[in-house]
Symmetry: C2
Subunit: 98 residues, 2 copies
DNA sequence: TTTATACTTCTAGTCTAATGGAAATATAGG
DNA sequence: CCTATATTTCCATTAGACTAGAAGTATAAA
């Protein structure tokens, strides 16, 4: 994983509403949960939520699957693990290669 | 580690200049490196660098030790590991406790 | 085919971050 | 003391993020 993408993901995760969205998605498991459920859980306006979810999708942390009228948000754990692996290998030790 | 602090640290790391500062500090080891060395490495203005370093210090990711006129910036790896542990335990698995 | 539901996009206001020049502060050396 | 170096603080500007209401789109149901 390159630093540019890692930075984008870190900055998306570094926002209270968005981290909460991601955690709800993780908790919801493979099938994810509807945007509406996130909204009632977090209590922000629909447009604001949509905006944050869009940003998470843009950096690959969330994926969406439509089921009729409902759009389910699914956490992409691989993307999160990539971020963690980047932090581990590039930001915690003196012995990385350039 | 609580979510609020984790978010602050993530958002600080989610910035190109600041992540580079942190990585330089990690690379520099226990004694860290001077603000001036960071400046010549990254090529931003002194005031901008000082601002970013201040933010990293504020969330505990960087510590500073003065040596005469020189201020050395040292990476706080424990703080980074706390962030990673938070991501691991709270943001990657369904089985966390609330 | 009309109506309801679920969500997004548009638009606009407000706030905060990022940037760097200039002035200020801290320390060291002559 | 006076000067040089290292860094910060102050200040102003610019850009981008956050927020939410209103209008628009997609899908389903009656």
């Amino acid at each position: 994983m390159n630093q540019e993408l890692a930075i984008k993901r870190l900055s998306e995760l570094g926002h209270s509403t968005r981290l909460s969205i991601f955690r709800l998605a993780v908790k919801a498991g493979d099938k994810g949960l509807p945007v509406g459920a996130i909204q009632s859980e977090l209590g922000a306006s629909a447009s604001t939520l949509s905006h944050h979810i869009h940003r998470l999708v843009a950096v690959g942390l969330i994926e969406q699957q439509r089921d009729g009228r409902i759009l389910n948000c699914v956490a992409n754990l691989d993307a999160m693990r990539e971020v963690m692996a980047f932090l581990e290998s590039e930001c915690c030790t003196q012995l990385y290669f350039e």
